[in-house]
């Protein structure tokens, strides 16, 4: 997609205590976050977590049952979709099947009575922007999936929205095209400087695209922040599990200080950074989060750093890495990803090994899943 001179008047979007009920179930339960002007915010979570419902409330398709939504300075809870300055790229693209590419892109301009003379040039500009120059007269049924998606983007952008809403826009594309379009969306978004809210269940997509990630689970926000924060300092077991792969090891809090917490795990006492958000009490059961790539296999007699003895239970050789299941002598089984060594150096099932931890990359999360301690709505 080419760069453009078209700058959009971006606005921040602010949700405060927003709740949406379907019958008696809260699909979205008291969530608060802000999508900053000109930046890309991702709503990330498994299906059914309320992320699409949240997006639809911002787009005006649902009305919140409680809380407020502001776009810039304006309170928009009850404003119908056609009167909002948000534009959505739908998961299925929702191109009008009875119209050509040109008519699809021109639709929003015609519907809002943009002067006739402006329509042609603006549609052409939008089609150039998404790299569809020359396809204006195609009917929408004659396009490939990737082209349809570009039309959907052009159709949304041509109206110069203040906020762009993307509902899993890549989920209907094949894997290769998905990675390619991801890059295009990011550079288009940055070129235009448009506030963008992006819904996805794909953590890799969220990590690679976002300025800000909002992780949702069961209608609530578990954690939000920049991608590396979410990955490096997961606040809950759910976040640690959903984003990347994690080993969980039972532990018990021994003592809590301002910047360090001591926990007992696998027969040792570890001094770790305190978790984000939750306050721990001595004696409390917690979980240690160990990322497989932060664990290292060593010969059993090595003794640098903090490590635990164990035995290789199984090996999966994946080319770039080898994934080991290791049964620790302390009882737990952990997954370890190590760069795959050349041929003979590969360890085998039954080999005694030592698993070394990078202590500064071990995190403590509360033992209870946040949803089980929630009050029911």
């Amino acid at each position: 997609m080419a760069t453009t001179t078209l700058r959009l008047e971006s606005q921040p979007v602010r949700l405060e205590g927003v709740t949406k009920l379907f019958g008696k179930t809260a699909a979205v339960d008291d969530i608060t976050f802000e999508a900053e002007a000109g930046r890309l915010t991702t709503l990330l979570g498994p299906s059914g977590c309320g992320k699409t419902t949240t997006l639809r409330m911002i787009g005006g398709f649902y009305e919140p049952d409680a809380g407020s939504i502001h776009i810039g300075p304006k309170f928009v809870n009850t404003v119908p979709p056609h009167a909002r300055s948000t534009r959505t790229v739908f998961q299925s693209y929702a191109l009008f099947p009875h119209m050509t590419v040109f008519e699809n892109v021109a639709f929003g301009l015609r519907a809002t009575r943009v002067p006739r003379g402006e329509i042609g040039p603006r549609v052409d500009e939008a089609l150039d922007l998404v790299g569809l120059t020359g396809l204006a007269q195609r009917s929408s049924g004659q396009l490939s999936g990737g082209q349809q998606q570009r039309v959907a983007f052009a159709r949304a952008l041509v109206t110069r929205p203040e906020v762009l809403l993307l509902d899993e826009p890549l989920s209907n594309l094949d894997a290769k095209l998905r990675v390619h379009m991801r890059g295009e969306i990011r550079s288009l978004q940055q070129d235009l400087g448009i506030t963008t809210i992006y819904v996805t269940h794909d953590q890799e997509e969220a990590m690679s695209l976002s300025d800000h990630v909002v992780v949702m689970q069961a209608g609530r926000i578990d954690q939000q922040g920049p991608p590396h924060d979410i990955y490096e300092r997961p606040a809950t077991r759910f976040v640690a599990d959903f984003i990347g792969t994690s080993n969980f090891v039972d532990a018990r809090v021994e003592s809590v200080a301002a910047d360090v917490v001591e926990v007992a795990a696998l027969g040792s006492i570890l001094r770790l950074a305190p978790p984000v958000g939750a306050a721990l009490r001595p004696g409390e059961s917690v979980l240690l989060v160990l990322r497989p790539e932060h664990l290292h296999l060593q010969d059993p007699d090595t003794s640098d750093g903090v490590g635990f003895p164990g035995r290789v239970a199984s090996v999966a050789y994946l080319g770039a890495v080898a994934t080991y299941e290791v049964a620790l002598d302390g009882g737990a089984t952990v997954t370890v990803d190590n760069p795959a060594p050349v041929g003979a150096a590969l360890r085998h099932a039954g080999d005694p090994v030592r698993v070394r931890l990078e202590v500064d990359r071990v995190y403590v999360v509360p033992r209870t899943d946040s949803d089980t301690i929630r009050r029911s709505p």
Binding site: D65, A66, K74, N77, H82, L95, A111, G141
Partner: protein
């Protein structure tokens, strides 16, 4: 940024969140255009459905002295004559329904599950009776099997040739219960066919393959898998067909007179007409109408709201490919013989009417003549024009209004809309006699609110409201096929509801609207049971002229009028079919 105002409408400034939407107007109605459209629908339904139904009910219990009385209902259920009318109706309808189901299933099974020759031909022929009014089929049966009918004349000659003492023993005269049953079976079995073929083609073929795989024979699979899967479809189409049979007027009036199971009595719908038009007994006529309404409504509610939930097959599902060779040859060729015989019979019905229109005296003198056609065209010129204008206008109004209502009910829905939807569908469930009589009572001066007696308007409104439910239903199911996200996209891009409806929804529904128009037009052209109460010397209709010609035994003119009716509906059908070609195309694509 904070103080900037943009092009957005909507309330400015921050506000405290407030309570859930319970006390506010439903969101759909906050759009003025949607609220106005709902107002229109409510007005139409109140005026043309609720009001006539209400007046017919009141009329049946209205005492001449001004009080209320149930005397007529007591009289109905204590009089042998009326009870026999009821029994005749139940017996004739029951038998005709059973036969319709058998025929409908046979055709559907042959067409969807076998590789028989002539399947395309059978599919086309089976739909022909739907284009013909019931009394026209009855009339054609007279031409074939009446005393002077072609077949009976031939059988008489054969009897003479064989030297029989009474040559007429070989004849099979159509007048009587068997004639009514035959005519009604032919009229209504296509409905059963449509339900069965939809159900048969949406059963997952793997279910039957699984049964076979587990060692079940063809017959065992049919009995224990296929038929049970079809049971809900069979039951609901049985109810539907029974309802239409029970309220039929044409065939009993033409073929039934004095020769039914209980020969002193007629059937309910003709009896209601006799009470009103013959005896001017409005009270008794409306009483019979109400008695006709009760079972119809029960059946409708049962079929529409209860059975649908129990169905194993989705009738709108994509047809699946079946292996066609597994049906045993004996079954196949029996079905072939059945389909062929019925198809030939249906075609001969059309041919005999055409022949009747151009021959001098049916059964006596088969010289070609233009005389009947000239008489028909001259004497019924006004009726033909009236019929075309009122049916054309009524069908356009019904298709558009029905589609609009379908859009509102599915896309702009809120709590309570189901009640409105149910009420708007009532004209479909209510027998023609009831809807016609209801209009005659409500707008005929017996209640002085609105008087439309003797106008074209009353016929137009009646046509419109009776066929509007078809637009409503087909529009509703077409909308279910269109992803609502398409309309959301329009709103998202700034299109207001009216703009979105006109530019997106309406074009996407074009083929459906055409279908609703065609169906409505055919039904309005051929309707007789409702309009018989509404025509007047100034506003005559083709169907009524035709019925009167049959009734008066003027078979040649009747045949000529039938040809005019068939040709004109056929022409409209072809024109619309052509015009909607593109429309059907893009529906298939999306």
């Amino acid at each position: 940024m904070a103080d900037e105002t943009s092009a957005m409408t909507g309330r400015a400034g921050s506000r405290a969140p407030r309570d859930p939407a319970r006390l506010r107007l439903p969101r759909a109605l906050r759009e003025p255009a949607v609220a106005i459209a709902y107002g229109l629908v409510l007005f139409v339904v109140a005026l043309l459905v609720i009001y006539p139904t209400y007046t017919i009910l009141i009329e049946s219990v209205r005492d001449p002295d001004g009080g209320l009385t149930l005397a007529r209902y007591v009289r109905f259920f204590s009089s042998t004559y009326f009870l026999h009318t009821l029994y005749n109706t139940l017996l004739v309808s029951g038998i005709a329904t059973a036969l319709s189901l058998v025929l409908g299933f046979g055709f559907a099974y042959a067409i969807t599950r076998t590789d028989l020759p002539l399947k395309g031909f059978f599919t086309a022929v089976v739909l022909v009776p739907m284009l013909l009014p019931a009394f026209l089929i009855a009339f054609a049966l007279i031409l074939l099997l009446g005393r002077n009918g072609v077949i009976n004349r031939f059988m008489y000659a054969a009897g003479e040739w064989l030297g029989l003492a009474d040559p007429s023993v070989l004849q099979w005269v159509i007048f009587g219960s068997h004639g009514v049953i035959l005519a009604q079976t032919l009229t209504f079995f296509p409905m059963a066919f449509l339900v069965f073929s939809a159900a048969l083609s949406s059963i997952d073929p793997r279910l039957e393959e699984a049964a076979e795989d587990l060692g079940a024979s063809y017959w065992y699979t049919l009995r224990r898998v296929t038929l049970p899967l079809l049971a809900p479809a069979a039951f609901s189409s049985a109810l539907l067909v029974f309802m239409f049979n029970a309220s039929a007027f044409g065939a009993p009036a033409v073929l039934g007179g004095g020769r039914l199971f209980f020969p002193q009595a007629s059937m309910l719908a003709p009896e209601a007409i006799i009470q009103i038009l013959g005896l001017y007994d409005w009270g008794m006529g409306t009483t019979i109408a109400v008695i006709l309404v009760v079972p119809s409504l029960l059946i409708y509610v049962l079929g529409e709201y209860y059975l649908k939930k129990r169905s194993y097959v989705t009738v709108s599902g994509t047809p699946t490919a079946f292996r066609l060779a597994v049906v045993p040859p004996a079954v196949k060729w029996t079905l072939f013989a059945l389909c062929l015989a019925v198809s030939i019979f249906i075609i001969s019905i059309v041919l005999v009417v055409v022949a009747g229109a151009f021959t001098r005296t049916w059964g006596v003198n088969y010289d070609l003549t233009w005389r009947h056609m000239a008489t028909a065209l001259q004497a019924s010129r006004a009726s033909i024009i009236n019929s075309l204008v009122l049916s054309g206008g009524g069908a356009i109004a019904a298709a558009l209004f029905g589609t609009l209502a379908a859009y509102l009910f599915t896309r702009r829905s809120f709590r309570g809309v189901r009640v409105l939807d149910f009420t708007a569908m009532l004209p479909y469930a209510l027998p023609g006699v009831v809807m016609g009589l209801g209009f005659a009572v409500a707008f005929g001066g017996r209640f002085e609110l609105i008087v439309l007696t003797g106008t074209g308007t009353i016929i137009f409104l009646n046509h419109f409201i009776r066929r509007m439910p078809f637009g409503l239903r087909s529009g509703g199911s077409a909308l279910k096929q269109i992803d609502p996200v398409i309309e959301e996209a329009a709103a998202d891009l700034g299109a207001k509801p009216v703009y979105s409806f006109l530019r997106i929804t309406f074009p996407l529904l074009r083929a459906t609207i055409m279908g609703a128009f065609v169906f409505g037009f055919i039904n309005m052209m051929t309707d007789i049971t409702a309009v018989i109460f509404l025509v007047s010397p100034r506003w005559r209709l083709l169907s009524i002229d035709l019925f009167n010609a049959i009734d008066a035994g003027r078979l040649g003119v009747a045949a000529a009028l039938s040809v005019i009716m068939i040709v004109s509906t056929f022409v409209v059908l072809i024109v619309v079919w052509r015009a909607s070609g593109r429309g059907l195309d893009f529906l298939r694509r999306s």
